[in-house]
Every structure is written in structure tokens, then in C-alpha cells.
């Protein structure tokens, strides 16, 4: 069983639209949406939730004003500026418990937070493990690890060949949690200067964590000069370009209908995404040997 995680650095390059197509094209797989704070894959896969779990993570401090003597020690020590006028701002509180430890009159208590939900669902294309982080919550990395572990169990149990993970943008905590231990990272970029800049950072992230990168250039005809720059960059870095996809509004049209584009049309982009999946599965098979 091999896992491919789809990342991009820059947001909005087409990760989710492409993963939804892989859901159609891959035969034996489990799907994961690890963009837990803005999860969109479900919109294209229309899951039927089979199992719902609460995600409890982290704590938040609470000051009992009846006990508080307003000594101000907690306020002075809190590094997150979460305590003002002897009350805790739950949004700024990082749950470190320092105030709870030091309060001379035990006026501070720590409360566990329900930071979201995660789900195992059936879709037309196979099982999807996904999550919804509570609004403005922390610990997205932990939730990512949780859904990925669940997917791994399902894949092992069902003897499935692939785990396909739709990752978050960026290079921080949830991206790292999505990437570590995967067999391949498909990096979806676009031929814009921002796209190139962000691609270089996410390639470095792959190197840092020892995950093989492969690149897909989406909307490559928007700026062919930049597309050549990306090709040259990948060549010099020894990174395979798994595919290039045309800029075509048909992808958005399909999205508005709630369908992966490969199920919506037989256009050129459909063929290009099929070839991309072929390149990925060939690379993953190679790793088996």
C-alpha cells in the first residue's frame, strides 16, 4: 500500500479538483481530505457518513472570579497575552496551563476543548476519511495525523493499493503532518511567479522530510514562459513532471455540478489528468520493487 499526498504551497492551484479525479481513476484506494480547516473534497465526492467521531484536543484556561484575588501573576506570566483584566480570552489561550500551575489560590481550571469532528464515509468511489476542524481551533496537525492513521488502517484491512490524500496549502503544521511518511508528494503548481515561489518552498519541505516530489503544472498555458521556467527548475532539481493540464473553465463547470471533471467531460483536460494519474501509479509501483 502506497500513499500519495497532494500539496501545492500556494492555495487554489487545483489540488482538490485533481484529487477528485484520482478518486474516479484509481481502482483500489482510500481517500483522505487532510485540509481539515477548509475541507472541500466532500463537495465533489458526496460522502455518506458512516462513522462520526469527536476530536478532543487541547485545553483552555478559565479563571473563577470568586476565587481570584487579582494578584495578576497569571497575566504577567502568560506569553500569549491571553489574560486581561483577570479573564482568559479563549481564542488567544494556547492551553499551556502555566496560569493553572502558578495561581496561588487555585482559581484557574483547565477545560478540554472539542476541537472538531472526523468522519469515515462511503462515496461512489470508495471510502473517504475526512474531518472538520472547529472554527478558529488549533491542533490541525493532530487532526491530520488522526485521519491519515485511520485511512492507513482501512487500507491495510481492505488490502487496498493506494491512499490518496488531498493536502492543505502552506508548509506549516498541517502540511508537515500530511506529508511525513508519504511515498510520494504530488505538488500542483501554476505558471505564476507566486506559484513558482511557493513550489520551491514546498519542494524544500519534501526534501526536509525525505518524501519524493513529483510536479504537476496546472493551467500551464496561462503563461508558457513561466511553464518553461518550472520545467527547467524541475529538470535541474531532478524532479519528474507527472503532467501538465490546460486552463479550461470546464473544470469549474464540473465543480458547479458537483462532479470530478473526468466524469463530466471527455475534454483534453480529462485526458491530461488520466495521464497524470498513470504517471503517479507507475512511480508508486516502482517503489514497490
Amino acid at each position: 500500500m502506497k500513499e500519495v499526498v497532494v500539496l501545492s504551497g500556494k492555495g487554489g492551484t487545483g489540488k482538490t479538483s485533481i484529487v477528485a479525479c484520482f478518486a474516479v481513476l484509481a481502482r483500489s484506494k482510500v481517500l483522505v481530505d487532510s485540509d481539515v480547516d477548509a475541507a472541500d473534497l466532500y463537495l465533489l465526492l458526496q460522502p455518506e457518513v458512516k462513522e462520526e467521531n469527536e476530536f478532543w484536543s487541547g485545553q483552555v484556561a478559565f479563571i473563577d472570579e470568586e476565587k481570584c484575588t487579582e494578584c495578576g501573576l497569571c497575566q504577567e506570566l502568560c506569553r500569549f497575552e491571553a489574560i486581561q483584566d483577570y479573564t482568559v480570552d479563549p481564542i488567544s489561550c494556547e492551553g499551556c496551563g502555566f496560569c493553572y500551575q502558578v495561581c496561588p489560590v487555585n482559581a484557574v481550571t483547565m477545560h478540554s476543548c472539542m476541537a472538531g469532528h472526523w468522519f469515515t464515509s462511503d462515496t461512489r468511489y470508495g471510502t473517504l476519511v475526512h474531518a472538520r476542524l472547529g472554527i478558529a481551533e488549533e491542533n490541525s496537525g493532530k487532526l491530520v495525523t488522526l485521519v491519515r492513521n485511520k485511512a492507513r488502517l482501512i487500507a491495510e484491512k481492505g488490502d487496498l493499493h493506494h491512499i490518496i490524500t488531498d493536502g492543505p496549502p502552506g508548509i506549516g503544521c498541517p502540511a508537515i503532518a500530511s506529508l511525513s511518511g508519504a511515498n510520494l508528494a504530488l505538488l500542483v503548481t501554476e505558471p505564476t511567479l507566486s506559484g513558482i515561489h511557493d513550489l520551491e518552498r514546498v519542494v524544500s519541505l519534501c526534501r526536509h522530510f525525505g518524501v519524493l516530489p513529483m510536479v504537476c503544472i496546472n493551467k500551464y498555458d496561462i503563461n508558457e514562459e513561466n511553464t518553461h521556467r518550472i520545467e527547467n527548475y524541475c529538470y535541474s532539481e531532478g524532479i519528474e513532471i507527472g503532467g501538465k493540464i490546460l486552463f479550461d473553465n470546464i473544470i469549474t463547470e464540473a465543480l458547479a455540478k458537483g462532479l470530478p471533471v473526468v466524469q463530466y467531460s471527455n475534454s483534453k483536460v480529462t485526458q491530461q489528468i488520466e495521464e497524470l494519474w498513470q504517471a503517479i501509479s507507475t512511480e508508486l509501483d516502482k517503489q514497490d520493487k
Binding site: S8, G9, K10, G11, G12, T13, T16, D35, V36, D37, A38, D40, L43, Q59, L77, R79, I91, S92, E94, G95, C96, G97, F98, Q101, V102, L133, I135, A136, E137, E138, S140, P168, P169, G170, I171, G172, C173, P174, I176, E190, P191, T192, L193, S194, H197, D198, R201, S204, L205, H208, F209, I222, N223, N226, F247, N249, T252, L255, A256, G258
Partner: protein, 286 residues
């Protein structure tokens, strides 16, 4: 006035709006643009930033003096992030898990723990005409963006118009960037993904009790569900930018919209006036 530009979904045009807006406003006044998308900062590409000043951003992590340490385990007990473990006569520190709260050093009964700073990124300042750009950049492999965002926001100059470019998503980095701003401008696109993530972003700003308005980018693609949502939720749509290949090409080359298409300048100037009105009205209500 401090205005954050957020979206929920990535790639909807936050940086396109933030950079052109800052440039448009800078013809009349000094403007600050803070790039708080510290994982992937891009505003500098459009402003051709000349960095005048660069400084490391660090967080405090514990350092144990083993000559004083009695391996009592108090530090590991108080660390909720599991960044310290005491194994017989060894103290292990997992610096990347440390949030720098300072509990371990303060509570160590032997005063054996001091703090040393660990660099997790940089802060860079520079100018592009009347726009002062301050950006944070997270070091590759580091997980925690919020301390860098906090550092960037310390440079807010409240006497000026300040525009904050927010990272995508709805979790802690977004909250850190949006928190304390006077208004949040949400840039979206008329697709199901745009709508889904917009509604999540609206929940974030409502939780933070910050007034908001919407810019719909790439109008012409997708459907009208975003507009219907804004009407239902009584969120003003302040600007629409059409789906236009020319805009996409300018963006791809790193050319600010108002440089390539100066006819957009007025729209961005009006945008600030509209927001000022909304903010003063909401203050009256408060």
C-alpha cells in the same frame, strides 16, 4: 485603520487585492502592507521588495543545566505539549513541539532551566514607494506560523492605513492574523469551494466580532450561490472582479493589477471609503 484580507480558500486573489489596494492608496498617503501568509509570502513578488532590514524571529525554548538538574520530572509534568521528557538521568527536549510558554523554566524547583532562543523564521521590512511592506517567512520544516505572525503584527502603525494579507484556512494562523483588525475583507470566487470556505471564514470573523465584507473574484465562472449567500447573511459585496484572462496573465507575471490595468485604481479607492463607512457605522452600534 487596520484591515485584514482573508478568504478561507487559497488562491482566490487575496494577494492580488492586497497589493493593488496598497499601491492605489499609496498615491495619497503612506500605507503599510503586512504579509502574514508567513508560510508562503507572495506580496513581495508584486512590490519588488527591496529588503532594508531583516531580523530573525525566535521563540524561547528550554535549556537544562544538567549540573543542577535532579531529574525530578516536574518540567515534563507541566509541559502539555510533550516537548520535554525525563528518562532516568537524561532530559530530552523536543524543540519543535515547544510553544515557548515558559512554564518549565519558571516551575523548575532547582532553577536548572534557562531559555535560549530558537530561530523559526525571519521578518523582513522594505519599501515600494509609499508602501511599507513587512513580511514574515517561516523557515522550511518549522511547523508553527503564529509566533511569526505575532511578530509581524507588532509593527502595525495605527496612524496609517494598514492592510494585512492573511494566510488561507480557518485555524490558528488565520485567527492570529485577523485578530484585532478593524475590518476583514473576504476574497472569494463564485464556485462551491469558494462558497464553502467563505462561509467558514465568515464564522471566524463573527467569532472574533470583526465586521466584514466580500470581494467576489473571477465573476463569470461558476454560479450565483456566493451572491445569494451574501444577501442572506447581510454581508456587503464591495467589489466584483471579472474572470478575465488578461488579469490572470498580469498576475502570473507578478504585475500588480492596477499597474497593468490602471482603470482599477478608482475601484480600490472607493473600497476604502466604503469600508470606513461600515466601520464607523458599526462603532456607533457598539
Amino acid at each position: 485603520m487596520v484591515i485584514s484580507v482573508a478568504s478561507g480558500k487559497g488562491g482566490t486573489g487575496k494577494t492580488l487585492v492586497a497589493t493593488s489596494w496598497a499601491l492605489a492608496l499609496s498615491s495619497n498617503a503612506k500605507v503599510q502592507l503586512l504579509d502574514c501568509d508567513v508560510e508562503e509570502p507572495n506580496a513581495h513578488i508584486f512590490l519588488h521588495l527591496q529588503v532594508d532590514q531583516s531580523q530573525p524571529v525566535s521563540i524561547a525554548v528550554p535549556k537544562v543545566d544538567e549540573t543542577k538538574c535532579t531529574y525530578c520530572g516536574k518540567c515534563a509534568e507541566v509541559c502539555v505539549y510533550n516537548a520535554i521528557a525525563v528518562v532516568q538521568t537524561k532530559v530530552l527536549i523536543f524543540a519543535q513541539l515547544c510553544h515557548g510558554c515558559g512554564a518549565c523554566s519558571y516551575l523548575c524547583p532547582e532553577s536548572a532551566i534557562t531559555e535560549e532562543s530558537r530561530e523559526i523564521g525571519v521578518l523582513e521590512r522594505g519599501h515600494c514607494g509609499n508602501v511599507e511592506l513587512i513580511q514574515g517567512k517561516l523557515t522550511i520544516g518549522e511547523p508553527m506560523a503564529p509566533p511569526i505572525i505575532r511578530e509581524v503584527k507588532k509593527h502595525v502603525d495605527p496612524t496609517r492605513t494598514v492592510i494585512i494579507d492573511v494566510p488561507p484556512g480557518t485555524s490558528c494562523p488565520v485567527v492570529e492574523a485577523v485578530k484585532g483588525t478593524d475590518f476583514c475583507l473576504l476574497v472569494t470566487e463564485p464556485t462551491p469551494f469558494g462558497l464553502n470556505d467563505l462561509s467558514l471564514a465568515v464564522e471566524v470573523v463573527q467569532k472574533l466580532q470583526i465586521p466584514c465584507g466580500v470581494i467576489i473574484n473571477r465573476v463569470g465562472v461558476g454560479d450565483d450561490r456566493v451572491e445569494r449567500y451574501c444577501v442572506e447573511e447581510k454581508i456587503p459585496v464591495l467589489l466584483k472582479i471579472p474572470l478575465d484572462r488578461e488579469i490572470a496573465i498580469l498576475y502570473s507575471k507578478g504585475i500588480p493589477l492596477i499597474e497593468g490595468m490602471p482603470q482599477w485604481r478608482d475601484a480600490f479607492l472607493t473600497l476604502l471609503q466604503d469600508i470606513e463607512q461600515i466601520v464607523s457605522a458599526s462603532q456607533v452600534v457598539k
